[in-house]
């Protein structure tokens, strides 16, 4: 057990303790006695391996890990596991990687097929490497590949509805922002994402607009305000020091405002393929501009993109985001995707009080009752639920747009994406939405399934 660089033999690799080093059979207890060199070397190797797999284990948490080793029995797998887990894992998404790496560590296998020379002591081990960020973790042992979908299928195979090729004829003539941006190259193709200079300029303009329009909500915090109605005792007392304790000059506060969360949930399935490229770029603009914006995309499953998009460099962020989504242009399951959102993020309060924008053509292969129920649930959590549809004229004619028709009664605002005036009003809508609650069409007690049952045949929705 030396300090060799590659393939450092971790402790406890064999069932019985290593005979050559009896003194480290049990780590010394007590905070002031450092653990032995061999343990340190193995611990360094473990932390380095975790960093190599994209975990955020920093050098200072590594130091805490060393201290923790002195407190537990390093021959006991459970204790060692939890000591490392408590000090090196920072969020539940990292547990999959951690478990896999720890398993190799404990079994004494080589830890890292070293991808790049990670130097011990660097402050941010993730800088410079390509990240497959967001909530999608790199699959252990499969570098460069985003997490496989839960259902085990890889995007294109699951495509089950007609895509851009099939419906280009009818919608080529569309005018409007989303339509104007549509382009033949799509995200699912392998080539590098190409954006023209004027497109990038337009994106920066969009970001500016969103920044200006960013909605606000009242905070519980209060700020000094002459016109406020809440007496500020602290400042009043300060003022009265000058007047021998007579409170002549009263100070007031009023509630401050905070940015309201804006949540984008965008459809990138096959039928939306032509819009995906520009959607992604718009999301990047929005996430960069608004302080509390969150971006999700879905085809067959939901992917959170906020972290992938949160970089400085526009094009690099877009590339990262593309890599993070495993199912570009897959089939659409809006209902189950929204259910997924409601159960994971919604339950944790992501949509509560937020402005939620769903961008989708509403083509859905799932059960419209499920979709209606989930849209309803989302609406009840959100401050305002806005649905942007780039192909609104098909809602009444296209049988597959049944999902859209099922969702319509439960959304607060429907924006036809092909109409430039409507899209231009979107920013104003977002900013104004904070001031008043929407007037909801249906009371909270109405059953979504019953509404779907009463839905008329094609062409009857207004």
């Amino acid at each position: 057990m030396g300090l060799s660089e590659e393939g450092t033999r971790p402790l406890g690799g064999r069932p019985s303790p290593p005979p050559s080093s009896p003194r480290i059979e049990r780590a010394p207890r007590g905070p002031d006695r450092p653990p032995e060199q061999a343990i340190l070397a193995a611990a360094v190797a473990l932390a380095r391996a975790l960093r190599n797999y994209g975990m955020s284990a920093s050098v200072d948490s590594e130091l805490v890990f060393f201290r923790a080793l002195a407190e537990v029995d390093v021959r006991n797998r459970e204790e060692l596991y939890w000591a490392a887990h408590a000090t090196l894992v920072r969020n539940p998404d990292e547990r999959v990687i951690f478990d896999a790496v720890f398993e190799r560590f404990w079994e004494g296998q080589a830890l890292v097929p070293a991808r790049r020379g990670a130097e011990h002591g660097e402050s941010d081990p993730r800088g410079g490497t390509k990240q497959h960020g967001g909530e999608a973790l790199p699959q252990f042992g499969h570098q460069g590949e985003a997490k496989a979908p839960v259902d085990g299928e890889k995007n294109r195979g699951t495509r089950d509805i007609p895509t851009a090729e099939g419906d280009q004829g009818s919608s080529n003539q569309q005018k409007g922002i989303l339509a104007a941006w549509s382009s033949t190259d799509t995200l699912s193709e392998q080539g590098k994402l190409q954006y023209q200079e004027d497109e990038l300029a337009a994106l920066r303009k969009l970001a500016e607009d969103i920044k200006k329009a960013a909605p606000e909500r009242r905070s519980r915090r209060s700020r000094p305000n002459r016109a406020g109605h809440q007496l500020d005792m602290r400042r009043t007392l300060r003022n009265s020091l000058a007047t021998d304790g007579e409170a002549f000059r009263l100070a007031f506060t009023a509630p401050a405002t905070r940015p309201r969360r804006i949540l984008f949930i965008c459809d990138v399935s096959g039928s939306m393929e032509r819009y995906s490229r520009v959607l992604l770029a718009s999301l990047k603009a929005a996430v960069g501009a608004a302080r509390k914006a969150e971006a999700f995309v879905f085809a067959t499953r939901l992917t959170r993109l906020t972290r992938s998009l949160d970089g400085r460099d526009l094009e690099q962020a877009l590339e990262q985001a593309r890599a993070a989504v495993p199912d570009w242009s897959g089939g659409t399951r809006i209902g189950t995707t929204l259910a997924d959102f409601n159960r994971t993020y919604g339950r944790r309060g992501f949509a509560r009080g937020a402005i939620v924008l769903v961008v989708s053509d509403g083509w859905d292969r799932g059960d419209p009752k499920v979709l209606a129920g989930e849209v309803r649930r989302l609406q009840l959590q959100a401050r305002r639920l806005v649905w942007v549809n780039p192909r609104p004229q098909e809602v009444d004619q296209q049988p597959l747009a049944i999902g859209m028709r099922a969702a319509l009664p439960f959304i607060d605002e429907f924006i036809p994406g092909h109409d430039p005036r409507a899209v231009a009003g979107l920013a104003r809508l977002i900013s104004g939405a904070g001031s008043q609650r929407p007037n909801r069409r249906l009371p909270a007690g109405v059953e979504p399934a019953a509404v779907v049952d009463r839905m008329g045949p094609l062409g009857s929705t207004s």
């Binding site: 905070p31 955020s56 920093s58 200072d60 948490s61 805490v64 201290r67 923790a68 407190e71 537990v72 459970e78 204790e79 596991y81 939890w82 000591a83 887990h85 408590a86 000090t87 894992v89 920072r90 969020n91 539940p92 547990r95 905070s219 519980r220 915090r221 005792m233 602290r234 009043t236 007392l237 009265s240 020091l241 021998d244 304790g245 007579e246 409170a247 905070r258 409601n342 159960r343 339950r347 944790r348 309060g349 992501f350 129920g373 649930r377």
Partner: protein, 300 residues
């Protein structure tokens, strides 16, 4: 505050408080105590995050000080404030003691935890507070000291044991996480939940406790909007007990289902699945438990 010399001793002391921990949580809490590091606990609602701090305080014989976070919480709610009415009176009365002294200081939870030696400080649902508040906590959590401009730096002689809970409505800041140990609490498995129910509700019969736990374990696999937590399991067992039942039956289960499930969609879904089948299955699994000879005492 009582110290613990080993993980086993700590687990035993927590068990005496009727809080059962598995080896993972036991190790992490032990490390938090020994390394004097704050412990950040995350997990689904209802897995006993807050309860952990209460049990730890009771086990260590230490005072528990709780800071419930909410949006807009600031220094005056978390750290200290001044007793303005008394200050004004003092000013009017022409008293001699300085206005900004400890005499007029109102201690809020964080300051209180520094003043009380060896206390357990629970910072509950930190994700509800603004991110600025997290930045404010950094000084406190790394040095266990606070700066009050009018008085100076106040430091703890015996730093408190800090437990922070979060429901992950947002990611906490890296800088804060770096200062903490981390643990994610899962829902307990059947054996552990049975042990918890038996420990927490000694008055409830074993058969009933086992059946209720088996029933809830099944529900957690059903992908509900809001899976019942341990607290709800205990409430439900108590509900049956209060109604004079010593085992679960479909009719009573139907009437009391609102104790367990609090979403209309979930209720309808479970009723639609047929309570008879679920109740039968739970009874079956509970009887298997007893036949295996698994007893609550051996599980801890």
């Amino acid at each position: 505050m009582r110290g613990f010399s080993s993980i086993e001793e700590l687990c035993r002391a927590l068990t005496e408080q009727r809080y059962l921990v598995d080896e993972g949580l036991g190790t992490v809490v032990f490390l938090a105590l020994r390394l004097r590091k704050p412990l950040l606990v995350e997990g689904e609602p209802g897995v006993g995050k807050t309860e952990l701090a209460k049990a730890l305080a009771a086990a260590a014989g230490a005072p528990l000080i709780r800071l419930q976070c909410y949006e807009g919480i600031d220094v005056h709610h978390a750290l200290y404030d001044w007793d303005y009415p008394r200050q004004l009176l003092q000013l009017r009365a022409g008293g001699s003691s300085p206005l900004y002294s400890e005499e007029f200081l109102v201690r809020r939870p964080l300051l209180e935890s520094l003043a009380q030696p060896g206390s357990v400080l629970l910072i509950d649902e930190l994700d509800r507070a603004d991110d600025e508040f997290e930045a404010f906590l950094l000084e406190f959590l790394s040095d266990f000291q606070v700066t009050i401009p009018e008085i100076g730096v106040m430091r703890a002689e015996h730093p408190p044991t800090v437990i922070i809970t979060s429901n992950r409505t947002r990611d906490l800041h890296e800088a804060l996480k770096r200062r903490c140990l981390y643990h994610w609490i899962d829902h307990p498995d059947l054996l552990r939940e049975v042990a918890i129910a038996r420990a927490r509700l000694p008055e409830v019969g074993r058969r009933l406790a086992d059946q209720v736990c088996a029933f809830v374990q099944d529900l957690r696999w059903l992908d509900l909007y809001r899976s019942p937590g341990v607290g709800e399991t205990l409430d439900w067992a108590e509900a049956f007990h209060t109604l004079g039942r010593d085992q679960i039956d479909p009719a009573t289960a139907d009437r009391t289902l609102g104790v367990l499930l609090k979403e209309r969609d979930d209720l309808e879904r479970i009723r639609g699945k047929g309570l008879e089948g679920l109740v039968d299955r739970a009874a079956q699994r509970a009887s298997e438990l007893r036949e295996d000879g698994a007893s609550g005492d051996g599980l801890v």
